[in-house]
Symmetry: C2
Subunit: 103 residues, 2 copies
Amino acid sequence: MKTASRTFRALADPTRRQILQDLKEGELAAGEIAARFSISGPSISRHLSILKAADLVSERRAGNRILYRLEADRIAAALGDFLSTVCPTQFLHRRKAKKERAS
Amino acid sequence: MKTASRTFRALADPTRRQILQDLKEGELAAGEIAARFSISGPSISRHLSILKAADLVSERRAGNRILYRLEADRIAAALGDFLSTVCPTQFLHRRKAKKERAS
DNA sequence: CAGCTATTTAGCCAAATAGCTAATATAGAA
DNA sequence: TTCTATATTAGCTATTTGGCTAAATAGCTG
């Protein structure tokens, strides 16, 4: 499963995990994210592209800026899929909403 | 959180994830694990040491051989911790009993 | 002890990663 | 158009990673 490698590699970097945490509050522009770190804007841009390639965040243009949003459902689904195959006993979930049919 | 980096980096490699899956069945010796892959024994040994450093597996010596065991609880705890901080809404806390509904 | 098996450790090399600065889009305003 | 602000892409370097073979370690057996 190639997506699993992309997901875990994306999560392996502390800067990228911090970006995800920052996005918990809501959408942020690339520059706003970069301002929270002491590393350069281009480096943050690269981190964002890795997170987006892994589907952990999504982006949308808002005029001049590009806003990033946390894709919490996808993160939870990716890790949940892995957990359910590697340690199904420990992965006890209450929700059985496998289908996304509007309930 | 340094352990998170170790955990995700360990999980980022497909060979290491496959080792974890193989260990679902039970303990395996290093050689038995290596026999399942087309890469060299020393490379598998390195993968095992990375998994052990991340606490995703444990090892015990059995005479001549070294048996590895999946630390499923630890894996679930590590990923659960991350999920609970980054996407608490999507992270459905596991429950002890079903009588705790509607709480 | 020597010999045998199982496993890890030590080097080495190619590829990937993360950081930087400089250059290149892209959008809006003058 | 030109200017400015926002972001990404390009190119470079140092470090890390994952593979290999060869050598060393650990435990059994004769």
